[in-house]
């Protein structure tokens, strides 16, 4: 769940001007892994609108048309239970159906919609989740979908042999699964798992054919994915492409889809094109019909071009942000951290780098994330005067060369970037903004896996971050005291009160009860000024106008079920 939006991350990254080269790719991969999981909860987002209008308009015509999707990264596994990469998530979202759909905001008063499960019940302590399953569903290999398949899938995920990276985290404190007949299954957790409904709605926890698990083994299934989705696996040529084709037997689309029956498209090829400019060029030549992660300059070109559509989809989780180290001087001083917040002009950064693509962020959550509190946006607005007086109060007085000093020491911050991750230009703009209030910033960069170790050690004052998640429980991974040494708590921030609030927020699955805890925790974290939000990332895809009715999951993965191809 963490970076579920992995792709987003990617997308965002790729959008940066001048960022298209290999470095970008690297990073993303790392992130993705991190992100794992969570992904995809929402296929239906847009679907919902039509829900009910055409419930059973069975597709009279056979599936036709072939779409080539140019994606930057190669999948490493097509087992939804293993992979954490966005590229795998894109494909698996179209091959696997989740038990339920999470579509916040689509219909007043309803966050979740039936998928393979027609209805579900959650115990008050959020430890037992019971699903009542559809009886008319078959896997691509003909195996009937039953409660046992749900159990086998989860057992597969938790088996160490599977080496699950993201699904196992999305699953949470799993204990066991109780099969109560073919169509009733109860998933039991050792601890409260209030985030589970959001996670079970992602491709990562979608049921896999038990027959395939048996035939290919826990490792082999990664190359022979068998789900219940509208498309089924055809071929995977490593380093080149993955092709999936329409499942002619598909007749269990969620009610919120635009149609029922098999998908309109006959085939989708996920073509791996690591270079952003080549993706752009292949889109122009028509070799790919949809592409991701283009340079922002190229996106601007396509926005004006008549034959192309730029799709954007909002995502949830945490914005692109700078993490401030609360342990290392001088940012161990709250006043210094607050001064940084006030000295930061997000609007100017957007104007310079992402005009028309992204919005500035002033909150540790993205709008759309459960428990997002718009009132917190007002806590820190650009105010250099306020920043200067805070620094004065903290004892940092104006010194020579415009840099403030205290006890003869200049006010210098170590800003360590994740190289080629889309932060390089942001950090330079921040450096200039902070210089205006008397702060010197030394910028350096390290490549992705290495930088995580540096951040965990705490050699930085400022670090880069963003995080996709379907649930506010992401705070567990980002703010918890026990995540400093090994996890994502690169702020080296530890407030036991926050930890308690977060775990209380996860002790129930009822959103109305969870929200107050997470809002309180978010307020404390923002008051501590350990995160400087920069911009709200979105999923951005560019496509030929021939591709119609493309939809996205909540985390912005393209859903091809309802899509058509114009001649």
């Amino acid at each position: 769940m963490k970076m579920r939006r992995v792709r987003r991350a990617l997308a965002a990254k790729a959008l940066l001007p001048g960022e298209r080269a290999g470095g970008v790719r690297l990073t993303r991969r790392g992130l993705l892994a991190g992100a794992a999981g969570f992904g995809s909860a929402a296929l239906l987002g847009p679907l919902v609108r039509t829900s009910g209008t055409t419930p059973a308009a069975r597709a009279a015509t056979a599936s036709q048309g072939r779409v080539v999707f140019g994606m930057w990264q190669s999948p490493e596994s097509l087992d939804p239970g293993t992979s954490g990469l966005i590229s795998s998530g894109y494909i698996n979202t179209n091959m696997f159906d989740p038990l339920i759909w999470h579509l916040p905001g689509l219909r007043q008063g309803q966050d979740y919609f039936p998928g393979l499960a027609l209805r579900w019940e959650v115990s008050p302590d959020a430890k037992r989740f019971t699903f009542y399953l559809r009886k008319d569903v078959k896997f691509h290999d003909g195996t009937p979908f039953t409660a046992q398949a749900v159990k086998d899938t989860l057992e597969h995920i938790v088996n160490p042999e599977t080496k699950s990276r993201s699904a196992i985290t999305a699953l949470g404190p799993y204990s066991h699964t109780e099969v109560k007949g073919d169509d009733v299954v109860t998933i039991v957790f050792k601890d409260s798992n209030g985030a589970f409904l959001n996670n079970v709605a992602t491709a990562g926890l979608s049921p896999i054919s038990p027959a395939a698990l048996k035939q290919y083994g826990y490792q082999g299934v990664s190359q022979h994915p068998v789900g219940t989705g509208p498309f089924k696996f055809q071929e995977w040529v490593p380093g080149s492409h993955v092709t999936i084709v329409a499942n002619p037997d598909y007749n269990w689309a969620p009610a919120v889809a635009h149609h029922q029956g098999p998908p309109h498209l006959a085939e989708i090829t996920y073509r791996i094109v690591p270079d952003a400019s080549t993706r752009f060029n292949a889109l122009r030549t028509g070799e790919v019909l949809i592409a991701e992660n283009l340079a922002s300059t190229d996106v601007t070109v396509l926005q004006r071009a008549p034959n192309f559509t730029v799709f954007t989809a909002s995502v949830t989780g945490m914005p692109y942000a700078i993490m401030v180290n609360a342990k290392r001087p001088p940012t161990d001083d709250l006043k210094v951290r607050q001064a940084l917040e006030f000295a930061t002009n997000q609007e100017a950064i957007i104007e310079a780098l992402y005009k028309g693509i992204y919005q500035p962020a002033h909150n540790i959550f993205l709008p759309g994330t459960l428990s997002y509190d718009p009132s917190l946006d007002k806590m820190y607005q650009y105010n250099p005067t306020r920043a200067k007086s805070l620094l004065d109060e903290a004892g940092w007085k104006a010194g020579s060369g415009g840099i403030r000093q205290k006890d003869g020491q200049p006010l210098r911050l170590q800003f360590i970037n994740i190289a080629n991750f889309g932060f390089d230009q942001i950090s330079q703009l921040l450096q200039a903004q902070w210089q205006d209030v008397g702060i010197q910033t030394d910028i350096s960069g390290q490549s992705f896996p290495t930088v995580a170790e540096t951040y965990n050690k705490g050699d930085h004052n400022l670090a880069d971050f963003f995080y996709y998640s379907v649930d506010p429980f992401l705070m567990r991974a980002l703010y918890a005291c026990d995540q400093v040494a090994h996890g994502f708590n690169w702020m080296h921030y530890c407030d036991p009160q926050v930890d308690t609030l977060v775990s209380k927020g996860n002790a129930t699955a009822d959103p109305t009860k969870r929200i107050p805890f997470f809002r309180q925790a978010a307020k404390l974290a923002m008051e501590a000024a350990v995160v400087i939000p920069i911009y709200q990332q979105r999923a951005v895809f560019e496509a030929s106008n021939r591709v119609q009715a493309l939809r996205f999951t909540v985390n912005g993965f393209p859903i091809f079920y309802d899509a058509t191809l114009r001649a």
């Binding site: 790392g30 490493e76 990276r165 985290t169 380093g239 094109v273 060029n281």
Partner: protein
């Protein structure tokens, strides 16, 4: 000759092991724990990281890890990729043909253009053909292949629509990648072939051949060129390394399969077994090609004997 080849092959074994040892050590010097990278973002507990490290065998002393690698290698086992969980040998087998094809086509194009332009340049020295060839060479050496790739895609795929931008799908798909990779290469061959041929053409035996009344074409192609080719053939062997490193870039830009892009993915993920496997295979190819070069000397120049 057979003995010579046998000796050379045995002699190259220490080289191959030396390379694996070097790569192994370098990989372990770079910070970043593969287990941690694999679990990054999954909220893994420190125990999980330790567990995975044990599962991957990374908790053992370096020497033991290397010994294990060599031992398995001697049994023909390159290990299993951390990333994809496929056998490394299988990964390489899937990717190698694409790179081999690209390298071969590039070689053929580059050698064809290089030899042709080199011979013409030497024969019509300082004429317009030579000038043209020289200009072509200078550009070819000066233009980096990643930039050339993008330029060729823009011109031939986007604007003219003659060839695909993505470098796969039969003959049409390989032209642009091979041209991107081959231009600089052909330029080097042109320069060397021209210089070498000019030198040979000044030799007394060439004058003798002319004096015997042989036609210019026979003198140049049969007598002079054969001798002039020796340094060129050496160069072809040595340039193979550049060709493979260029493939890393060109494969990535054109979205082609191949061991170049496999290596990039493996390095990014610190997938030790795959990196080692790729390096080993590349080293092996390098050794074999240079052996072939040595053998070709004998074919080109009767004065060279092995035995």
């Amino acid at each position: 000759m057979g003995q010579f080849i046998g000796r050379r092959l045995i002699g190259s074994l220490p080289i191959l092991f030396g390379i694996t040892a070097l790569v192994f050590l370098i990989l372990h010097l770079i910070p970043g724990d593969p287990a941690q990278i694999m679990l990054f973002g999954t909220n893994a507990t420190p125990e999980q990281v330790v567990h995975l490290r044990q599962a991957l065998g990374l908790d053992r002393p370096l020497l033991v890890q290397y010994g294990d690698f060599v031992w398995r290698l001697l049994h023909g086992d390159l290990g299993v990729s951390f990333l994809s969980q496929r056998r490394v040998a299988e990964e390489i087998a899937i990717q190698f043909p694409a790179t081999a094809t690209l390298a071969l086509v590039t070689m053929v194009i580059a050698a064809g253009i290089g030899l042709g332009a080199g011979v013409l340049g030497a024969v019509y020295r300082d004429g317009w053909v030579d000038m043209l060839g020289t200009g072509f060479s200078v550009l070819g050496v000066a233009v980096p292949n990643f930039w050339l790739s993008v330029l060729l895609i823009l011109v031939f795929a986007v604007h003219l629509g003659w060839l695909p931008a993505l470098g796969e799908g039969g003959v049409r798909g390989i032209i642009l990648p091979a041209a991107s990779l081959g231009w600089g290469f052909s330029a080097i061959i042109t320069r060397l072939c021209r210089a070498s041929l000019i030198e040979v053409l000044a030799q007394p035996y060439v004058s003798t051949a002319y004096a015997k009344g042989l036609r210019a074409r026979v003198v140049v192609l049969r007598h002079a060129l054969k001798n002039a080719l020796i340094p060129v053939v050496t160069l072809l062997g040595l340039q193979l390394g550049n060709l493979l490193s260029g493939a890393v870039v060109v494969e990535t830009i054109f979205g082609r399969q191949g061991i170049g892009s496999l290596a990039v993915r493996a390095i990014q993920a610190k997938d030790f077994p795959t990196i080692q496997g790729v390096v080993l295979v590349v080293a092996l190819v390098y050794v074999l090609v240079n052996l072939l070069v040595d053998v070709m000397y004998a074919a080109l120049d009767p004065r060279v004997h092995y035995g």
